[in-house]
């Protein structure tokens, strides 16, 4: 499998008051295309920071990040926005849907940045909702859906523009076990059947079991890698 994400000597430092805090220390990591990686570690280990850097939401202090052959650590804010809209889908712990828009309009959001017609946007959103099993719930607003359903809408929004990479930050952290299992099964299906590369931050070892492999971070350093697991 070819490498989708290639990270070399990645460092990230935050300024907290007068103090500089290095959150990531010289990280080297390769993630092949089609991989499903669980990123684990204690709180403050730098998991979300690493995820944000891979997703182009933040800029590193040093080192290189290449995604699908493109250096993203050198891109400006505007270029990064454009890059994200084409290449990455994001799923958050608390779904982060627009409360005033119905499910279908939420899913259509990333397509507003494309040149697709209104009808085409609607059609694509319907397909994405169908894929996550919510075809009948398009007209419902987030507050009319359960947590699991809201997360499915968020996943539909993440995949509607067909990105290569899905970035999931504790996607099951706010869900009960059954809903969490359903979401993880859905992510597995997107990885297996649709070839999406998924990087998922989680605290839950059971959630990590659904990934092909697990990477552990501690105090900003990669401490251990597990080999791919057969599912």
């Amino acid at each position: 499998m070819s490498t989708l994400v290639s990270i070399r000597n990645l460092r990230k430092t935050y300024q907290r008051g007068p103090e500089k805090v290095e959150v990531l220390h010289s990280i080297d990591l390769d993630i092949p295309k089609g991989d499903f990686v669980a990123l684990m570690g204690p709180s403050g280990s730098g998991k979300t920071t690493l995820l944000n850097l891979i997703g182009g939401l933040d800029s590193p202090t040093g080192g290189e990040i290449q995604v699908d052959g493109q250096r993203i650590d050198t891109l400006g804010a505007g270029q990064l926005s454009q890059w994200r809209s084409h290449n990455v889908g994001f799923v958050f712990q608390f779904y982060n849907l627009m409360p005033t828009l119905n499910a279908q309009k939420n899913v259509e959001l990333p397509l507003l940045l494309t040149k697709l017609s209104s009808a085409q946007r609607k059609r694509n959103a319907e397909i994405a909702l169908q894929l996550v099993g919510l075809a009948e719930r398009g007209k419902h607003r987030p507050n009319e859906l359960s947590g699991g359903q809201q997360q499915r809408v968020a996943i539909a929004r993440a995949i509607v523009s067909d990105p290569t990479l899905l970035i999931c930050d504790e996607p099951t952290g706010d869900l009960d076990r059954q809903s969490a299992e359903e979401i993880l099964a859905l992510l597995q299906s997107l990885n297996r059947d649709h070839g999406k590369t998924i990087i998922m931050v989680t605290h839950d070892p059971k959630a990590a079991d659904h990934a092909q492999r697990t990477i552990h971070l501690d105090k900003g350093t990669l401490v251990e890698r597990e080999l791919a697991v057969e599912h």
Binding site: L57, D58, S81, R84, F90, L101, S118
Partner: protein, 385 residues
């Protein structure tokens, strides 16, 4: 346009707050639409060019009277087709709240105002009665006057034989067909000759002259020639259009432009604070949502425009509703007053200024929240920092 549903949804995220803010914008622009139309109407004096009816009054103040002797000199100026004179009387009928304009006029005054329709028999009766008066139809209706009634007026400036009691017999009721001019039916005319003879104070003085310029004669030249008659005298004149004269007359009581500007300044300043606070609060509540938009690829500039469009939409929506209500209300108020209050409709000039104000206020109140949205750091915003 593809973002409109997004802007609209954000605007009505908190329906009660948006509705109340919208109501304040509607009220502000309703007030603006009505007051500015009055201001525009008062300020539309224009130049004498093209005006064939001029009013000649004292250059110093229209309260200063002019000598009656100017009448024959004005009539002799080439280009003057007709002229007449009038003098403000300022009498009160029963109670000051019954105020209406009343003044004495010289012979031929009605010939200068063909829009005043007075039956020939009534005119003849009036002209042959020294103490006769004529009134407009609206005024007669208001007080229930009929031909032959005696109308007592209390003088406020000009007593007669040591008393303020003047009385006139109603000889005629004129009407004006043009609805826009109905307000001019609220007036009483009586003879200047009677005024001149009977009042205790001034003799041989008139308030102003009305001059009809012959077709083809230049109004500018006639106005200059009239003014030159009194140049360097103690009664220098100023010949101007009727509109400009009426404007100057109204300014005796109040500077409408200044009042309107003052009121609207206060209203819009309050509106800026109110709408600005609403927008700031609306954006503060939506920081995580704006961060999500940026996460999925909306650029900083897109977020700036989204928030700005939201505030402009709020103000324009409220403003247009407010001014539309003003447009509907003003003819109704004029009609309901029976011609006493003649409010113009909201004019094109007022709409243009109103729209410019809506855009400016929308941009001003939206700018700071929009900049905040544009500059927000995705990572911090998603983490709730």
């Amino acid at each position: 346009m593809k973002y409109l549903h997004l802007i609209w949804a954000a605007l009505f995220r908190s329906k009660t707050r948006t509705f109340l803010t919208l109501l304040s914008v509607v009220t502000a622009f309703l007030l603006f639409g009505m007051l500015d139309s009055v201001r525009v109407a008062f300020n539309s004096g224009g130049s004498v060019t093209g005006a064939n009816r001029l009013v000649v009054a004292s250059r110093l103040s229209i309260t200063q009277m002019l000598p009656y002797s100017l009448d024959t000199q004005i009539k002799a100026i080439p280009g003057v087709q007709k002229s007449a004179y009038a003098a403000w009387f300022g009498g009160i009928y029963q109670d000051p709240k019954n105020f209406f304009a009343n003044f004495s006029v010289g012979p031929g005054y009605l010939d200068l105002y063909p829009e005043f329709k007075l039956p020939a028999a009534q005119r003849k009766a009036w002209e042959s009665n020294r103490t006769g008066a004529i009134v407009g139809e609206s005024l007669a209706k208001r007080h229930g006057w009929k031909i032959g009634d005696t109308i007592p007026l209390q003088a406020t400036i000009f007593p007669t034989q040591g008393s303020n009691n003047w009385s006139f017999r109603l000889d005629g009721i004129f009407r004006i067909d043009d609805e826009k001019m109905k307000a001019q039916e609220n007036v009483l005319f009586f003879h200047w000759k009677y005024f001149d003879e009977a009042n205790d104070y001034v003799k041989g003085r008139v308030g102003w002259y009305i001059v009809k310029v012959a077709d083809g004669a230049g109004s500018d030249g006639v106005a200059k020639a009239i003014d030159s008659l009194s140049a360097n005298s103690d009664h220098e004149t100023k010949a101007q259009t009727e509109a400009a004269f009426n404007q100057a007359f109204a300014k005796q009581f109040a500077d409408i432009g200044l009042i309107v500007t003052g009121i609207m300044g206060a209203v819009f300043f309050t509106l800026l604070l109110l709408t600005g606070n609403t927008m700031a609060q609306a954006v503060r509540e939506r920081i995580p949502e704006l961060a999500v938009l940026k996460t999925i690829g909306f650029s900083n500039r897109s977020v700036l425009w989204l928030v700005l469009s939201e505030s402009v939409l709020l103000v324009v929506l409220g403003g247009v509703i407010g001014m539309a209500i003003a447009s509907l209300l003003m003819p109704g108020v004029s009609k309901a007053s029976g011609g006493m209050i003649q409010l113009p409709t909201v004019l094109g000039q007022t709409w243009a200024v109103g729209l410019a104000l809506m855009l400016a206020i929308g941009v001003i109140v939206g700018l700071l929240p929009a900049l905040r949205g544009m500059r927000l750091n995705i990572v911090d915003a998603l983490a709730g920092r």
